[in-house]
Amino acid sequence: MNATYQIFAKELRGFLNSPAIYIFLTVFLVLSGAVMFYLRNIFAEGAATMAPYFGAAPAVLLIFVPAVAMRLWAEENKIGTLELLMTLPIRDWEAVTGKYLASAVVVVAAIVLTLPMPLFIASFAKEATPVDAGAWISGYAGLIFTGLAYLAISEAISAMTRNQIVAYIIGATACFVLTWVSQPSLLYYMPDFLASIMGWLGIAAHSQNFSRGIFDTRDFFYFLSLIFLMLFITVRVVESRRWR
């Protein structure tokens, strides 16, 4: 556990010292605000709600999260520090978990930094029609789960490649596919058996309940399972360097 913490602290320091992460955060926040106030223009629409953001945020996370994760393993691979890491008395899962937790802090922090948005909206809402804070909390929980799932997928992809750009593109594509595979318009054209599997597999189908204000244990376990499975795959990929 101590080793996990050591890796976590090292990675977090690495993030704080990396100018790229500030650029990614800045782009993420600008895009998030633009979605609400320029693309949708909620003031013109008149509804004091976060629904437009919760609807569009997975797409913004799709751009941001693979960028955070791309360097996790690909960089170590490229500059050769992975070999050094492998020689240390650290188990593979400790390294994978430490890196994941450090980047999770960045992803969660990015989402938390959008909180002024609901605060502004709540303060601008009419007293007679107060905002639904419970639904917003649930929506944010859904965003965090989506972000963490994207992160686990992107980390697994990062472990498979030596090139950060390749890791980013494949990571973002994988997240995109896994999110939109459950789109009803896509499922409609699939055979029934495949449609029922894809309908369950897609991230969008499971984040929908959160953004409506429902915490469903099935969605919660889906996200936990996805994260666990992706981290498990990452551990196996990292471990494979020992016998490849």
Binding site: F120, A125, I214, D216
Partner: protein
């Protein structure tokens, strides 16, 4: 060596497959053992105690069968999960009184003929297929079965799901339906037809026994026994015996709803072509006696610059020039009375202002204005209405702009209009219809005992617009603004439910997603600030933080180098 590597490779791949299978199996297991926590403020996705209350009153078990097509169009996929989840939750909370069955219907002809026996047929829905809009027919129905009685909910939807269920359960389990009597005594008015079709569309006829009475020369008003609500649509002069009938119905604890009309014309554009009669019909004097005066003016709203089409022929469609129609917004509803719930705005064509008269000081006497117009309304006095206004009209120079009450409620020990007066002679019944009603009332053992003070439960609700539910107005309203039409319909349903079926169904119906709106007093600079702060403000702070961190680190490394590198 190669063999060991190969083994490791297969072990690694194998472990991934096993982990995937375990995870999938766990998820499958949890799919049937799940919990949903509704975090919304009003618990809008949770089966409410009111519905549980209705269910707890069931003597036998009710079976709810959800039929859904095997292949549903995209827009129904999440609705299907929503319906299934809610039905399961309902079954769990019903103490065994609700049995839920889920049936997927494919293309089997036997299934189709089996369902057709219940009146369940595929319904057409639009889909987009290969960039083309097309129609597909699907099953998406719930059958509520209680003994031999059943009710089918077609296309249950998320927003009104619980109400649809409660409505269906109430319908199949009700022993008697509350009786609502709609009365119209103006032969030129289409109140009854419109109300009838509106109630039908809303499915309210299943819950209420609706009786329409057209009072004419040969057919005097006889209020049926067990009437829970008497609705008077744009009443004109009644016979004195009919006034006595209404008065005594109220005094016996009855409830009366009046859609009052301030002017005597159907189409306001034609008003100048008609003889203008003094509109103060005798029923308004009765209202005076109870303590509410309908004033003779017309409320004209300069805040609603919305031209409303009011009919006409072909492309000669007449448009009612605005500002004339007060559109009452929720912030002008002055009461939390149930009838205003879920109603954000209402259109009151040709609205009449009203005022309370000091007639009763009894502490139980209750009088309240239900809604006021905006501050941008002026009054015009009949018969000098000036309707030649356009949407950009300015109020007349001498017009006093102010808010006016346009709906009110009176309840409690009202004094009879006929108190201290001799009882009118009984009306000579000549028509077979009225005779039949009198006989029926006698058969049900129902007689009005003359009372001078109202019994508890007596209530008069007056809405200052008789055209509110006219066919022309509703028809045009639906074309012009379906949302506003929906609000008018909700308002009517609220009145009926608040006076008849009790609080459960009403509470369920008002449980829906209410969209919060922004304050009207927000300035441009406040909006711009919010836009900028949220889009660029926090981002800018992060960028500055990053640059600061970069320079701090550069300096820090420099000092380390100075200290350790010679």
């Amino acid at each position: 060596m190669m063999s060991h590597r190969k083994n490791l490779k297969w072990m690694s791949l194998g472990s991934i497959v096993i982990a995937t299978v375990i995870v999938a199996a766990l998820n499958l297991l949890l799919a049937n053992n799940y919990r949903r926590i509704d975090l919304t403020r009003d618990q809008i996705y949770t089966i409410s105690p009111e519905l549980q209350n209705i269910i707890s009153g069931l003597k036998d078990k009710a079976t709810l069968t959800f039929y859904a097509s095997q292949k549903l169009p995209p827009q129904y996929v999440s609705a299907e999960r929503f319906v299934e989840d809610n039905l399961r939750e309902l079954a769990e909370k019903s103490d065994g009184k609700i049995i839920v069955k889920l049936e997927k219907i494919g293309t089997d002809a036997d299934d189709e003929s089996r369902l057709a026996k219940f009146g369940i047929n595929r319904l057409p829905v639009g889909i987009i297929e290969r960039d083309q809009q097309s129609i597909t027919n699907i099953y998406f129905h719930i059958r509520v079965q209680y003994g031999p009685r059943f009710h089918v909910i077609n296309m249950p939807d998320e927003s009104g799901f619980e109400y649809q269920l409660a409505h269906a359960i109430t319908k199949v389990t009700a022993k008697t339906r509350p009786r609502i009597v709609f009365v119209q005594n103006d032969p030129r008015f289409d109140f009854l037809d419109t109300i009838g079709s509106l109630l039908g569309q809303m499915g309210l006829k299943d819950i209420y026994e609706v009786i329409s009475l057209k009072v004419e020369e040969d057919y005097p008003l006889v209020i049926p026994a067990r009437t829970e609500l008497l609705v008077l649509g744009k009443p004109i002069d009644f016979r004195v015996q009919e006034l006595f009938e209404i008065d005594q119905y109220l005094m016996s604890g009855g409830q009366v709803l009046v859609f009052a009309q301030p002017t005597d014309f159907q189409n306001p554009l034609l008003m100048f072509e008609q003889d203008h009669k003094d509109w103060r019909y005798n029923f308004y004097e009765v209202l005076d006696g109870y303590g509410l005066r309908i004033r003779p003016e017309l409320v004209e709203d300069y805040g609603s610059a919305l031209p409303i089409p009011v009919g006409g022929e072909g492309n000669q469609a007449a448009r009612l020039p605005s500002p004339i129609l007060p559109i009452i917004h929720a912030d002008r509803f002055t009461s939390e009375t149930a009838i205003l719930r879920d109603t954000a705005r209402l259109l009151l064509p040709m609205a009449a202002p009203m005022e309370f008269l000091p007639v009763s000081k009894a502490p139980e006497f209750y009088a309240e204005y239900l809604m006021h117009t905006t501050e941008q309304t002026a009054l015009q006095v009949a018969p000098e209405f000036n309707l030649g206004l356009s949407p950009d009209s300015e109020p007349p120079a001498d017009a006093e702009l102010a808010s006016h009450p346009v709906a009110a409620i009176l309840a409690g020990p009202m004094r009879s209009f006929f108190a201290g007066k001799p009882q009118p002679d009984a009306l000579k019944i000549e028509s077979t219809r009225s005779e039949y009603q009198v006989l029926q009332r006698q058969a049900e053992g129902f007689v009005f005992e003359r009372r001078d003070v109202a019994e508890p439960g007596a209530r008069v609700t007056v809405i200052g617009s008789g055209m509110m539910y006219s066919g022309t107005m509703l028809g045009n309203l639906r074309r012009l603004d379906p949302y506003l039409y929906g609000e008018q319909a909700s308002f009517l349903a609220n009145i009926l439910e608040s006076t008849t079926v009790g609080s459960d169904l009403l509470s369920i119906r008002r449980k829906q997603i209410t969209t919060p709106v922004f304050r009207e007093d927000l300035t441009d600079s406040q909006r711009s600030f919010a836009r900028f702060a949220n889009t660029f403000g926090v981002a800018l702070l992060i960028a500055i933080g990053g640059i600061g961190r970069f320079f701090w680190r550069k300096g820090h490394l420099k000092s380390l180098r100075r200290r350790y590198v010679k």
